[in-house]
């Protein structure tokens, strides 16, 4: 008896109960995952549901006698494209949930009606078409699926194949152009950085957090010899993490020097620049 996934190319065993069972299980899983994909609010959950759909479809490709496409589906789609999606989701913010507020009145109702209409039209078209049973052999042009595909791609479809190459390199260049950010200010040299550090009056590296303190956690300021705490020892990214809370301290390089009318410089803390950063 042939294996289920390898049953289709040989032309035998295609209507066995095992194949039908697996098809129905995969169909229900994929439709359920697709429905969950448009219903869940978080983008990460959508990506996971899409991965489930893609894996189900990969198995169906194998059942339909396309083992090469099945592996390309797993490697390229589930492996590369979906990881790219997850990467961008992590970059944009994992907590970016959809709002459930309907911005256009009656849009969901209209979308549902349009979907029902499209479904009816497509199902009627498919039902009226005379789709025959599966042909006996799938790999008509070669000894197996991969050889036949390679022969087709490099003979009949060689021009679309080369156009695909042009498309890929255009997409790569386009992604680089779109993701590129122009530098508006000149890049600070080592001399500029040293001058800035000298001007800040804070030459030594920052003290480590938690030195002589009760805990050595990263948000614990170090203790100074007189018993006070050194706010310099805490990373400034920890301070604006609590939303709505004023910044607890200001580092020396975040102060601007304002020359008053009397001529003596006065240091003013700039809290607005920190707010703009966060």
């Amino acid at each position: 008896m042939n294996h289920i996934l390898a049953a289709a190319p040989s032309g035998t065993n295609t209507d066995s109960i095992a194949v039908a069972t697996i098809f129905w299980i995969l169909a229900f899983i994929s439709v359920g995952a697709a429905l969950a994909m448009i219903l869940v609010r978080r983008a990460v959950h959508c990506a996971i549901m899409l991965a489930v759909v893609m894996l189900c479809l990969a198995t169906m490709y194998a059942m339909l006698g396309a083992p090469f496409l099945a592996f390309v589906q797993i490697i390229v789609y589930t492996g590369a494209v979906l990881m790219l999606f997850l990467f961008v989701i992590m970059l944009i913010g994992i907590s970016s949930a959809d709002s459930i507020v309907e911005t256009i009145k009656g849009q969901r109702m209209a979308a549902g009606l349009a979907a029902i209409g499209l479904f009816v039209v497509l199902i009627l078209g498919v039902g009226h078409a005379a789709i025959g049973p599966a042909a006996k052999t799938t790999a008509a042009n070669g000894t197996d699926n991969l050889t036949g595909l390679a022969q087709l791609i490099f003979t009949t479809y060689v021009f679309p194949f080369e156009v695909t190459g042009a498309l890929l390199i255009t997409a790569a260049v386009g992604a680089m152009v779109l993701a590129h950010r122009e530098r508006t200010a000149p890049k600070p040299t080592q001399r500029d950085l040293a001058a800035k550090r000298l001007a800040s009056g804070h030459l030594a590296p920052d003290p480590s957090p938690g030195v002589y303190a009760l805990h050595d956690a990263a948000d614990r300021p170090a203790l100074l010899p007189d018993g006070s705490t050194s706010e310099l020892s805490v990373s400034r990214t920890l301070s604006p993490r609590d939303p709505g809370e004023e910044p607890r301290f200001v580092r020396p390089e975040e102060t601007v020097t304002v020359t008053t009318e009397s001529g003596e410089p006065t240091a003013l803390p700039t809290t607005s620049s920190r707010e703009a950063d966060s």
């Binding site: 295609t14 209507d15 194949v19 994929s30 439709v31 697709a34 429905l35 994909m37 448009i38 983008a43 959508c46 899409l50 479809l57 169906m60 490709y61 339909l64 396309a66 090469f68 496409l69 390309v72 589906q73 390229v76 789609y77 590369a80 494209v81 790219l84 999606f85 961008v88 970059l91 944009i92 970016s96 959809d98 911005t103 979308a111 979907a115 499209l118 497509l122 199902i123 498919v126 789709i131 049973p133 599966a134 042909a135 052999t137 799938t138 008509a140 042009n141 595909l149 087709l152 009949t156 479809y157 194949f161 695909t164 498309l167 890929l168 997409a171 790569a172 386009g174 992604a175 950010r181």
Partner: protein
């Protein structure tokens, strides 16, 4: 298993993807729904290749996969550029051309 079942399943998945494109507001989720529609088309292509007993449909499905990969790369780069400018991935916030 008759190929008509696979085609019907691809129709269902395509419609679900279309609904997702229409109702979701997050641009990443809209992209994912477009991917779902492309996958449904691929399933139909492979099923019809099975019906006809040749490999042309599989080759077309392969090309669809390549085009989808390129589309995702450029689309996500556009999304990143919009997110950098608007601080939001929602399609409602990208309304600079509206007024």
């Amino acid at each position: 298993m008759s190929p008509i079942h696979y085609v019907a399943l691809s129709v269902i998945l395509f419609v679900i993807g279309g609904v997702g494109v229409l109702v979701r507001r997050n641009a990443i989720v809209i992209f994912m729904c477009i991917e779902l529609m492309l996958n449904a088309c691929n399933l139909a292509f492979v099923a019809f290749a099975r019906v006809h007993g040749n490999l042309d449909g599989q080759v077309i499905a392969f090309f669809v996969m390549v085009v989808a990969a390129a589309e995702v790369v450029v689309g996500l780069a556009i999304l990143m550029a919009i997110f950098r400018a608007r601080r939001s991935a929602s399609v409602d916030d990208a309304n600079l051309l509206k007024y």
